[in-house]
């Protein structure tokens, strides 16, 4: 049977189990461990081991086996958990992640690392349990397990993948029999399962009754192992495994390498293997499969989203056509089109919601990071997360992890002080790092805040001067904080391997702006720092305001638009540098003319006859001059960089109802372009980039063109 098709689902499932294991390990109360949590951790290791055995991933199987034994001892209370033991478990979890990765890429995991982690686990088992057990139950028979493996503990050792094939050949008579019942499994899966069972032992009989299918299997594998093999194909509810005869369970758990000899029964194992299996099967999936769900590759979802996008475009095209129609049929047509529009919107929302995942996916990575880092830096830090259920587009959750990790590291390294310093400053010894997420309009706001020392204004200014940046003491706090986003900027006195190299914040900022968001910092000396990341909820669709400039149409994201107005002459104020300021109520806002920034011909040059759209970009407000507001509509965001390159001032493109392409303006970038143009004294359409290209072209052509061009 080809098991490779199940490998992918194993990898995904195992990855999730490991994440769950880590979360539980981190949440463990060492003084009084919650038995349910210990069980969950144990089950995760156990399930992975089962799968690893099925697919012949020996390193993974061996590591999980050792871990499982320790975890089992822990949940029986034979192993007293301490912080350093949990550290070893966490390290093992990381190793398992690495092994999974290696297997996923079709490689063998690093053997040296494997040996090292196995040695650590074996030593741990030997020191912690071996000693305790020697006193308590000196005559444990399980010690027969191969000497290379760790000393015996209560959990019966499982057999390796290699041995599974050998047991399958032993005669049915000497081996216990299991009645495996499959409920509601479709034919294809059933055949696969039965074939798979055949690898585990001898199939003695099988019969079907409706969607109930019974197989009697002679196998020396334990019920849990059989279950572990099957559970990657069927849900635990669909599977029932019972011993056929009264006392086969002890035999099934026989730890001896050869299946035939039957050592004396082991009472604990018997309990684990007999009716308890059903209860266990039912309880295990509680964490991941409480409701039925479907695993779908993201690219399939993206394809649906693209199709819905096309539908929306077609829809607005129809709208345009109908708007021009006349005649008696028009009313009906309009009603139909409106209905279609509503349905299309609903469909769009439904599809988009498929891509949304809770922020929990992101936040769950941080407890471990904070724990490890705090230990490394000798700091006491408590991590608080808020708004874990806030939903965000999946692609964004993937991209936000790195910037957030950076911010968290910064907070821990530079923000939160040592316990002693904190005490001296009259703060609790334990620092608090808060990660929060919430929706605000069409955006998600993610905050990383600490109650540490805060940013050091004087230090930042001094550093900026040192780097030759143009700063003054009169700068507002906000402007000073923005300096930390400059490339290569770091005030850390010492470069540590945690942070301080100054490669950080500018990358964070660039990443977040690349996602269509922006980042702000607020800080108060002695009270801490809050970094605020504002992101759009999704990258695929945005509410756009279409504006006309000359004969071209551009889209402004509605989330950036504050208001629009027709400037009056008395509100326009020129400045010495040729800049124009617009007075809106009490504020003077700089004006950026879209036709200048984007090099549009035939645009309205008279500001009083244009429309000023007040937008918020890069944390500051300014006014964009456009000729006309055309309307508001949802637009499907199309990447320009797939086939072309980044266009300055443009974040993406979209397709309008008439099939033409409209560019979506990047409000952050646009004010930068305008500033650059003013500084360089060049006008749009002739920026440096372009000139370089042209001069290169001329150079290239000089050589080609001095000969006659035609040779006809």
């Amino acid at each position: 049977m080809d098991v490779s098709e199940f490998q992918d689902s194993f990898f995904e499932e195992a990855g999730e189990l490991l994440d769950g294991m880590e979360a539980h390990l981190l949440a463990l109360d060492l003084a009084q461990p919650d038995p349910e949590q210990l069980n969950a951790i144990f089950r995760a290791a156990h399930s992975i081991k089962g799968g690893a055995g099925t697919f012949g991933f020996e390193a993974l199987q061996r590591t999980t086996h050792l871990l499982e034994n320790l975890l089992d001892a822990a949940r029986r209370g034979e192993l007293k958990l301490r912080r350093d033991i949990v550290d070893i478990f966490l390290e093992t979890k990381d190793m398992l992640d690495d092994q999974l990765d290696a297997y996923r890429q079709g490689q063998a995991p690093d053997p040296a690392a494997l040996e090292r982690i196995c040695a650590v686990l074996q030593r741990l088992a030997h020191e912690e349990i071996g000693a305790a057990k020697a006193k308590a139950k000196p005559a444990k028979p399980a010690a027969k397990k191969s000497p290379a493996k760790k000393p015996a503990i209560a959990k019966p050792p499982k057999q390796s993948a290699r041995k599974k094939s050998s047991t399958a050949q032993t005669s049915a008579s000497g081996v216990p029999a299991w009645r495996v019942t499959l409920l509601g499994v479709n034919d294809k899966d059933r055949d696969l399962l039965i074939e798979e069972l055949g690898h585990l032992g001898q199939i003695e009989s099988r019969h079907s009754d409706g969607d109930r299918h019974e197989v009697v299997l002679a196998s020396s594998e334990s019920a849990t192992d059989i279950e572990a093999v099957m559970c990657f194909i069927v849900e635990p509810e669909q599977l029932k495994i019972e011993a056929v005869v009264a006392e086969p369970a002890p035999e099934a758990e026989a730890p001896a390498p050869e299946p035939k000899p039957k050592p004396p029964a082991e009472p604990e194992a018997a309990i684990a293997a007999s009716p308890g299996v059903d209860a266990k099967a039912a309880s295990r999936p509680a964490s991941t499969h409480t409701e039925s769900s479907l695993r779908v590759p993201v690219n399939k979802v993206d394809h649906i989203i693209n199709l819905v996008g096309e539908l929306i475009i077609t829809q607005s095209m129809l709208n345009q056509v109908v708007a021009k129609l006349d005649g008696p049929a028009r009313a009906n047509l309009v009603a139909g089109i409106n209905l279609l529009e509503r349905n299309a919107r609903d469909l769009q929302e439904a599809v988009m919601s498929v891509r949304m995942v809770p922020m929990d996916h992101v936040f769950s990575r941080f407890p471990r990071l904070v724990r490890d880092l705090a230990a490394k830096l000798d700091k006491d830090v408590e991590l608080v997360t808020e708004g874990r259920s806030t939903e965000l587009d999946k692609s964004l959750t993937e991209q936000i992890v790195d910037p957030l990790t950076h911010l968290v590291r910064n907070s821990l390294d530079h923000g939160i002080e040592n316990p002693d310093e904190r005490e001296a400053a009259g703060k609790p010894r334990t620092g608090t790092l808060t990660l929060s997420a919430e929706h605000q309009g069409g955006n998600i706001v993610i905050e990383v805040s600490d109650d540490g020392a805060g940013l050091h204004r004087a230090k930042i200014l001094a550093k900026a001067r040192e780097r030759g940046m143009n700063v003054s003491d009169a700068m507002s706090d906000e402007d000073v904080w923005q300096l930390i986003f400059a490339p290569g900027f770091s005030t850390a006195a010492q470069v540590s391997d945690v942070s301080g190299r100054g490669v950080g914040m500018d990358v964070v900022k660039r990443n977040i702006e690349g996602m269509g968001g922006h980042v702000e910092v607020a800080s108060r000396a002695g009270h801490g720092t809050t970094t605020r990341v504002v992101l759009p909820l999704t990258l695929a669709i945005l509410d756009g305001m279409s504006v006309r400039v000359g004969r071209e149409t551009f889209i402004l994201p509605v989330t950036t638009v504050i208001e629009s107005l027709q400037p009056r002459d008395e509100d326009l104020h020129g400045t010495a540098g040729g800049d124009l300021l617009l007075k809106v109520r009490e504020d003077y806002l700089p004006i950026v003319a879209v036709h200048e920034a984007m090099g549009v011909a035939e645009a309205c040059a008279d500001a009083t006859r244009a429309i000023a759209v007040v937008v918020q970009g890069r944390g500051r407000r300014y006014a964009l001059l456009v000729d006309e507001l055309v309307g508001q509509q949802q637009v499907v965001v199309k990447n320009l960089e797939t086939n072309y390159r980044k266009i300055p001032g443009v974040s993406a493109a979209t397709i309008m109802g008439d099939g033409s392409v409209a560019l979506i303006l990047d409000v952050n970038d646009l004010c930068q372009i305008a500033a650059n143009q003013k500084e360089n004294g060049v006008f749009a359409g002739d920026v440096s980039d372009d000139r370089v290209i042209r001069s290169r072209m001329h150079a290239a052509h000089r050589s080609a063109n001095h000969e006659p061009r035609s040779i006809h």
Partner: protein
């Protein structure tokens, strides 16, 4: 494209013959590897983009995909880059990218035998030698065989963002 042409390809499959799409830029006839060609469409609805070289006409919607449109006539300094009913866009696949190139006319699909494919001349034929694969000798006609992939991904076409190039203007 006429059906006869496609039959020719199949016939010429084993002999080292290759098929080319023949198009005109001004008075000259050029040819590109047919396997690079995705489709041919009319020139319309091209949205201008700012701060781009003049030969990049803009971007167009190709069934939901945004593709840049390059006018090779402007790129090669042709005198007359008019847009009329014959003007077409050849949509080509280069690597993972899709690019449309504006040409005066698409005339033919031709199979060239190895004997008909001559090495590139030592002197210029309107575009830098680096982008010329060779010449197609048809007796009375001469085709300039263009390495379209090399041309469009070249630095001077400015279609592909290069590493280290700044994002902002």
């Amino acid at each position: 494209m006429n059906p006869a042409a496609s039959i020719e390809t199949r016939a010429g499959g084993d002999t080292g013959s290759r098929q080319f799409l023949v198009f005109s830029l001004g008075e000259e006839e050029y040819a590109i590897d047919i396997l690079k060609v995705q489709e041919i469409r009319d020139y319309d609805h091209v949205t201008r983009i700012s701060n781009a070289p003049d030969f990049i006409k803009g971007v167009a919607n190709l069934r939901g995909v945004i593709v840049p449109i390059v006018d090779l006539r402007i790129k090669f300094r042709m005198q007359n880059a008019a847009y009329d009913t014959n003007t077409v866009v050849i949509v080509v696949n280069i690597g993972k990218r899709v690019v449309g190139i504006v040409v005066d006319r698409v005339s033919d699909v031709m199979t060239l035998t190895p004997e008909q494919m001559k090495p590139a001349p030592e002197f210029g034929v309107g575009l830098p030698l680096a982008y010329i694969q060779g010449l197609g000798d048809l007796g009375d006609r001469m085709l300039i065989l263009v390495d379209i992939e090399k041309l469009l991904t070249s630095r001077e076409m400015a279609l592909v963002e290069e590493a280290g190039e700044s994002r902002a203007a």
